[in-house]
Symmetry: C2
Subunit: 349 residues, 2 copies
DNA sequence: TGGTCTCGTGTAACCGGTGCCACATTCCAA
DNA sequence: TTGGAATGTGGCACCGGTTACACGAGACCA
């Protein structure tokens, strides 16, 4: 129980003096370097623990020529998604002495690449995690490689280097949705896609098509309509689809945001869910379980993906043997928005 | 057009050599210190701009004995709220050379205060922003004061020091909701509160009561029920209220999360919104505009509040004359969930 | 003419750690 | 016994900036 020097925080020199060694030896202990006598190491560790000493990250960073900060670059409008990703990353960071710095971005801004260069360069980031859809930006990847900044992409489709990738098999989730609708007996099934700029739009459509194919069904072109991942686009496309004379009995939307738009369209038109219309969304956003009737949706383990992304930053990039598998399969969460199609009275065509 | 030394990043010494001065003079320019000849200053600034030199924050931080990081401590479950707060804070930080580090926390954890002490101490944070409800934690405030760490609280009720506060007048927003319901002709109005631990629960109730009072109405105790700011609690309390023989014609929920629970309860019971039941929420969360029919809600300018919070960190704490007013009044966003009450047929009591 | 004050600039030490290398010991094989 | 490698430790420069202070030059005043 040494009285701590008032006001001053402990430095490596204080610890060295207490232990009767040079600060270099304390440094070795901190960095778990070899060539330290076991007894010496134990003694120093005890002193460090007793006094709650923590080395200054800025001083260490200066000497190491890199910081103890991990950046999260994103342009994802889904705040729930981003929050879970943050939490997952922090799961891995906390305890290792790293911190998370957030950087939203706009890929369409003319200063985008300059901003990013400044961000990773000035901070000498220990690594960055890229969330969709900026994770699909190849020019940014090139920049990061050039800056020798470790990075991990969170994405929904296989991209070039698996060592830098945390993959969600969106296609599999969409396929599960398709199977479920087919099993329930639906035949006239519509799909509202996301914008083509997003890789996930294509993955989800491809998976959905594949799932239907397993049941001998195919996605009719006239029932495949383009949305924009927004509520408004879901509402508009939903109206379009539901006003047709032979309207679909089920709609799969590329995300929950659009699916909730379809809900509104159905309500407007007095079409009952799920009796007259089955709906499946994607993301399992908070709204899916709060909307009425609760929505069947496809859930991504976003927090796990975030944790994995951060952990991948800490394994040597070349050591692909050590690299843990980073592929995640979504789950279909069944709620009350899916049911067998109503018996359709033959329309007098 | 000097060829940059390959691979090496520029340091203050490089700039000093180019300008033919000592690094100390460059340092003065960077920090906008006095006693630099105007011509010298201009020349150095030109060189800095030309080469895109940016001083290393870690080296500066080490010498300054504080970092260029601002922390955001939160335990708010509303991801939309947190995202907007982050964006607002970043609005103020970007361009000043500061970065935002995120730290979720759990006030009930036994290691809570130790974690926070470590967080602000080890990083030598330039400041922290506290989001509700952890912003109401007095022991944390005490800790920050002791650590001489600048802080700003984002809260919904006047707390001790205005210089450290960004205030949202939740009560005024709730009063606006009350007025609107009263104007529409509602008389049997229920309130579902948040948990008592949250200051906002009390503020919103108080404001709502006050707004009703302006119309000679009062909040009946039997129509004031305790919720928990969750969807489930809104659903349960909504069922309770709507199953009563003389059920309310309007319900004001302490937040949108609970309000969406009331929606579900109403749908379950076949009660039409807004014809038979008016609902108002609070927060204007994304769900408010996506749920059907779109919900009337009270909107907080969260992003502005975040920006203000960060800006307050950069004015001298004592200089309260300079401190900008940091009070925000919510707005009532009217949508389709409010209407005059249905004419009630006299019940055979 | 000299003294003091303000301005403008440079020098040296330092912030709190790490890298590189020298050096002393111990261990083991030849 | 000896030499070379492996082990354990310390010294010193350095990471890229800042503070404290010294110093010279010119302005102003007595």
């Amino acid at each position: 129980m040494h009285a701590p020097k008032s006001g001053k925080r402990l430095t490596i020199i204080d610890i060295a003096q207490m232990a009767g060694v040079s600060k270099k030896t304390v440094s070795r202990v901190i960095n778990q370097a070899p060539y330290v006598n076991e007894r010496t190491r134990a003694r120093i560790e005890a002193i460090i623990a007793e006094h709650g000493y923590e080395p200054d990250p800025q001083a260490r960073g200066l000497a190491f020529r890199r910081s103890f900060l991990v950046g999260l670059i994103h342009d994802n409008p889904n705040s729930q998604y981003m929050e879970n990703l943050q939490l997952g990353i922090l799961d891995a960071l906390v305890g290792r002495g790293y911190e998370l710095v957030i950087r939203p971005c706009d890929r369409r801004s003319p200063s985008f690449l300059d901003d990013m260069r400044t961000f990773v360069g000035r901070l000498r980031l220990a690594g960055v995690v890229l969330a969709p859809s900026v994770s699909e930006d190849e020019s940014l990847i090139k920049l990061l490689s050039a800056a020798e900044c470790p990075y991990v992409r969170v994405a929904c489709a296989p991209l070039d280097k698996p060592a830098h990738l945390v993959l969600s098999h969106d296609a599999r989730g969409a396929a599960a949705a398709a199977r479920r609708l087919a099993q329930l007996g639906h035949r006239r099934i519509a799909y509202i896609s996301g914008p083509p700029l997003f890789r996930s739009s294509h993955e989800r459509r491809a998976g959905f098509t594949e799932g239907l194919a397993e049941y001998g069904l195919e996605l009719a072109p006239e029932l495949t309509v383009p949305g924009a991942y927004t509520y408004e686009s879901g509402l508009a496309r939903g109206r379009d689809l539901l006003l047709r004379t032979d309207r679909p009995t089920a709609i799969f939307a590329g995300n929950d945001e659009m699916a909730s738009g379809v809900y509104s369209a159905a309500h407007e038109l007095g079409i009952r869910i799920p009796e007259e219309l089955s709906i499946i969304g994607f993301d399992d956003a908070p709204i899916a379980s709060r909307i009425w009737p609760a929505m069947t949706s496809v859930r991504l383990p976003v927090r796990d993906m975030g944790r994995m992304a951060a952990e991948k930053l800490f394994v040597a990039p070349q050591d692909s043997s050590e690299a843990p598998s980073a592929e995640f399969t979504p789950t279909l969460i069944e709620r009350q928005s899916t049911a067998p199609p109503a018996v359709i009275k033959p329309s007098r065509s």
